[in-house]
Symmetry: C2
Subunit: 367 residues, 2 copies
Amino acid sequence: MNVTVRGRTQHFRTVTFDRARNSVLLIEQRLLPHEFKIIATKNFRETAAAIRDMIVRGAGAIGATAAYGLAQGALAFRGNNSKNFSAHIKNVYQVLKNARPTAGDPVNAMNDVLDAMRAGKTVEEKQSLALAAAEEFANEDVEHCKEIGRHGAKLIRNGMKILTHCNAGWLAFVDIGTATAPMYAAQKLGKKFHVFCDETRPRSQGATLTAWELAQQNISHQIIADNAAGHLMQRGEIDLVIVGSDRTLGRTGEVTNKIGTYTKAVLAARHKIPFYVAIPLSTIDWNLKSGLKIPIEERSESEVLGAWGIGSRGKRESVRVANPTSGARNPGFDVTPPELITGIITPAGIFKPKGLWKRRRELGFGG
Amino acid sequence: MNVTVRGRTQHFRTVTFDRARNSVLLIEQRLLPHEFKIIATKNFRETAAAIRDMIVRGAGAIGATAAYGLAQGALAFRGNNSKNFSAHIKNVYQVLKNARPTAGDPVNAMNDVLDAMRAGKTVEEKQSLALAAAEEFANEDVEHCKEIGRHGAKLIRNGMKILTHCNAGWLAFVDIGTATAPMYAAQKLGKKFHVFCDETRPRSQGATLTAWELAQQNISHQIIADNAAGHLMQRGEIDLVIVGSDRTLGRTGEVTNKIGTYTKAVLAARHKIPFYVAIPLSTIDWNLKSGLKIPIEERSESEVLGAWGIGSRGKRESVRVANPTSGARNPGFDVTPPELITGIITPAGIFKPKGLWKRRRELGFGG
C-alpha cells in the first residue's frame, strides 16, 4: 500500500526481494508507527532472525519472508554439487522454520518453494525455480487479499462506521491485508466510511499498526479503548465489524484470533451488528474438530503490566503501568463460535462459518 | 484498610482530619501504586485543589473530603461575627463545589454539614458542629461499606474466581470500598478466592489502584487486559463479577459505571455468571427515567493514545503509544441495563435492579 515518507508517497509491500543484492527487504514493523524504515537482510540467517525477532509479523508476511529466505539461501550457494546443495537447502529450511516454530505459514510457504525446485535438474535451475516460487507465493498472497477486498467491499455502504480489532492489515500480509482489504477496496470505489480501531491491549496493534495503516491511506478513523466498543454499539455508532483470524476451523466454523475478538463478537450479536471474519484460505484448519481444544498461548506477563511508546525525551520508552507487586494473566488468543459470525470473507467468496465444510472441495481441502 | 510501608503495616483511611493542624489528610492517589504518600492540605483552597487535581477521587472519598474541607474552612474563621462567618462559609462551599462541578457527592456531603451547622448559635458552636458532621459523614461512609461487605460476602464461596472492573475499592471511599467490600469481608471470614482485575484502559485504575489494594490486603489476584475476560469466562475461569457504580437509576435499575462495565455484563449474561453491582445508597438517582438519556462524558483523547507508568530511569513517564497522526474517541462511562444485572448490593441488602423502585421508601427515597 502507499506510504508517505517526508512528503513523498510511494507504494510498498511488507516483504520484497532484491535480486541484485540477494536480500529480503522488510518493513521494520517494531519501529512503527513512530518510524518507517526498510531493512535488507544480508543472508538467510538474518532473514530467520527478522522472523524470530518480530521485525516482520503476520501470517502472510512471515510466509512470504520464509519463502524468500529459502530462495535467498538457495541463491547464496556456490558451485554445482547437487548433493551439497541439497544438504544446504535442508539446513536453510530448518533455520527458517525454527525462527517461529509454532507458525504454519512459513512451513507451508517453504514447502511450495521446495516442490517447485524439484522440477530443476541443475543447482542453477533449482536456484531460479526457488526464487520464482517465492515470488509466486508473494504475488498469490497479494491476489488473495485483493479478492477478499472485492468480496468484502460489497458489505460496506456509504456512511458506515466499522469496527476492527488488532491488525489484520497489509502489514500482516504482503500487501492489502485481510480485515482491511474490504476497506481499501471500498475506498477505491469512492465509498465514505469511518473505522474504529480497538487499541488491542496488551500489544496495542490496533492503536499502532492498524491506525498507522489507515492514516497512510487517508481513511477516516479513530482509536478506541477495548472497553469502548460495547458503549458505541449500544448508542448505534457501529454498523459493521470486520476482523482477521489466525486459524479458522473448517469443520466447525470456529475462529481463533487475537484476544478480545470473542468479546466483540458477543457484543455484535447482542446488537445485531454484522460480524465478519476475513481470511486467506491457507489459515483454514481442516483437521481440528473443536476450537475449545486449541491450547491458548499464555504470553509474557510484562505485556499486560506495562506499555511502550515514545517518551518525553522523544525516544522509545517502556513503562511499568501496573502495581509492581501484582502479576498478570495474558492469554494471547480466543475462540469465537460460529453462531456469532455473520460470514467468513475468503478470496473465493463469503461463506457462513458452518458452510465451510460443505464447500471444502472448492476451498482447496484435499485439493 | 491496611497499608504496609517499609515493612510496617498500619491502618489508613483515604481521608481523615487532623484537628490540631486544621488539615485534611489525603492519600496522594496519583502516585499510587508506585509511591504511598499522605498529603496534608493547609486550608480549604488546597483541599479543593486536591479534589480538582484528582489527588483524591471516587464518590465517597471526594464527598468526605468536601465535608472535611467545609469544616476546615469553618474552623479557620477568626472572630464571632455571624454575618461575616455566613458569607465566609458560602465562599468555602462554592470553592469546594467548583472543584468538581459535575460530581454529586461533594454537594450532598456539604449539605449535610450545612444542615448540622444550623443548630449552632455562635460561630464557635457552628464550627464544632461542622467538624462533627464531617466526621459523621466519613464514619457513615465506612459503615455503609461495611454493610455492603456483610451482605456481599455471602456471595463468595471458597475457591471462587471473581472479576472486577476499574476501582470501586477503599481508595474510592473513606475505607473498605464497595465492589471490594465483599472480598475484604469474605477474607475476614477465612474464605479463599482469587480476583481478576481488569486493567481498565484507558486510565488503568484496575491495574494500578485495585491491584495495589488487593496486594496490600494479601488477596490472591492477577491483572488481565480488558480483552481477556471473555476468554476466561468461556473456559470456566470466572465464577462471579462484582463492580461498582457511579450512578444507579432507582426507577429503571440501569447502572452507570466506568467504560467497559457494560461489556463485562453482556459477557457474564452469556455465560450465566452472576453479575453484581455494589453501591452506597447515595449514588441512587431516583429522578432519571432512562439511562440512555445520560450524557456520557467524552474524555481527553490523550488517555487512549498513551499510557504512563515508571520508565527506565525509575521515574514517572508518559509515553505516546498510538500512531501519532491518529485521534481517539474516549467515552468515560457506559450504561448497563437491569436485565444483565443479577443483583445490586447495598448497605440495606441485595436487591434486584428492577426491585429498587418498589423498595424506595426503605432505601431512603423521599425519606
